[in-house]
Amino acid sequence: MIDYTQRTNRILQQLPPSGIRRFFDIANEMEDVISLSVGEPDFHTPWHIREEGIASLEKGRTRYTPNRGFAALRQEIGRFLSRHYAVDYDPATEILVTVGGSEAIDLCVRSLLNPGDEVLIPEPSFVCYVPITRMAGGVPVTVETRAENGFRLTAEALEAKITAKSKLLILPYPNNPTGAVMRREDLEAVARVVERHGLLVLSDEIYAELTYGGAAHVAFSSLPGMRERTVLINGFSKTYSMTGWRLGYAAGPREILALMTKLHQFAIMSAPTTSQYAAIEALKNGDEDVAYMRRQYDLRRRLIVDGLNKMGLPCFEPEGAFYVFPSIQSTGLTSQAFCEKLLYARRVAVVPGDAFGASGEGYVRISYSYSIAHIAEALERIHAFLQHDL
């Protein structure tokens, strides 16, 4: 018998298993569960975008694309970034098309880190930054964010975690799971710390198009001096409801992008061809679809924030992505216990906040990428749960 623990990667073995896997397994087994747990849009990919993918297949366009992605797509990405966030990147050398934003994150971290380098990761946040950092031989250093600051990263909190080994800051805004966004002045304060300590920045802006209440997204690389330090990551999944197409991109200094492209060509070759054809259409003619979906998300956001606040689960006003992050501390339960009880008692599935880092304890993540009727029903059940089952 082979002892596989001796023959497989030790870092990977030691990564803790996901705490919420078991929870999802229970939810999936149960009947009549209303879920508010997923992190992908409920909208279908707009039809004109799907049609372009289909048309490319009909024409037999089924081969690899250039490693960096089609030139036409990179050009459209460049135009999009310039039009929406006033940042300019050279499509030939500063933009790379990847398999989802996730691949871009992985490439970026692996391209930048040497063993022992520290990566500053605000929490609560997307669950992949820590494992990816570890696999790259880096040391994750979490920076807790708090509800009283709107879950924004403050310069003070960041400064407090910086050491001589700090290399990279991950900026995950608009934020999953809290819905927090960073305003220009918040980013400027962070930029001063970045400058002072010579950090690099991975700015994960996958939810950039989904912000509400007037304040448009500010790309970190648009701040003075930050372009040369920042890799901007975005993609098509959340913006255009294209999760299954697996398409994202990175934009940044050509020296870093050259390394990421080298790694990408060895590991992946090129991002899916059909998806790239569809994505060109999305960027060219998709602004109205995005505006429509943003409006729908905003209506749902208002409904759910109002509902949760009224039933006594205080909710800071989320301004981006499609999540709310209410405090459940008034119930006296842990996040895990709250979610399990809610699931068993009323068959509503939400995600425990501590799944996104220890500082998420006392909160739950509720997704509003569901229909209004679905959300209304779930809110009724949560209300009944709070009144009768605690």
């Binding site: 996901s18 919420i20 896997r21 999802f24 939810a27 999936n28 879920s35 747990s37 997923v38 992190g39 992908e40 409920d42 996730s102 997307f126 669950v127 992949c128 999953n176 999760t243 209506l299 749902r300 208002r302 409904l303 924030v305 109002d306 509902g307 599935a349 799944a355 209004i372 009727a373 209304a376």
Partner: protein
């Protein structure tokens, strides 16, 4: 400020939304929602609240047909008078004046196809000014009122609970 368009769009999508829910979504008071709805009802902007039923899922399927009518418009009243006569029949579900190859599009519902055929022959065709009729029966409803009816294409939520989303 309550925008009527936003309110109407929400209600058109789902008439069951309560004033409380609408007030949260639109950022106005419940009272404003109530009075706006009352006003829109009174003004005839809101014409009613109904349920979208997929009758094909119920045991006895009803028949529906689209009738194309070519008519001669009256000198003074144009198409209005003839349309008015047609829409008084309870069997008639909708009447619209069309551009193109025919004049009036009339949808008719009945228990069976032959009921509808008889209705067209006895009631519609003899009306003065009706030049010709062409009856097209609905065989399957794929989509109606913006909602997909056909089971193979019905909306299903196949999103799993991915940890890394």
């Amino acid at each position: 400020m309550l925008e009527n368009e936003s309110l109407l769009e929400l209600l058109e999508e789902d008439a069951k939304l309560t004033p409380a829910q609408l007030s949260a979504m639109l950022g106005v008071s419940e009272e404003e929602v109530r009075s706006a709805v009352a006003r829109l009802e009174k003004e005839g902007v809101i014409k009613g609240y109904r349920t979208l039923v997929n009758w094909e899922r119920v045991s006895a399927p009803a028949a529906t047909a689209l009738i194309e009518l070519k008519v001669t418009p009256k000198k003074d009243t144009g198409f209005d008078e003839i349309a008015g006569r047609i829409m008084n029949f309870p069997e008639v579900r909708s009447v619209a004046l069309m551009s193109g190859g025919f004049d009036l599009a009339v949808t008719v519902a009945g228990k069976t196809m032959s009921d509808i055929a008889m209705f067209v022959a006895r009631r519609l065709a003899p009306i003065e000014g009706v030049l010709s009729t062409a009856t097209h029966f609905v065989l399957t409803r794929y989509k109606e009122g913006g909602v997909i009816f056909h089971s193979e294409y019905e909306e299903i939520d196949e999103r799993g609970s991915n940890l890394c989303d």
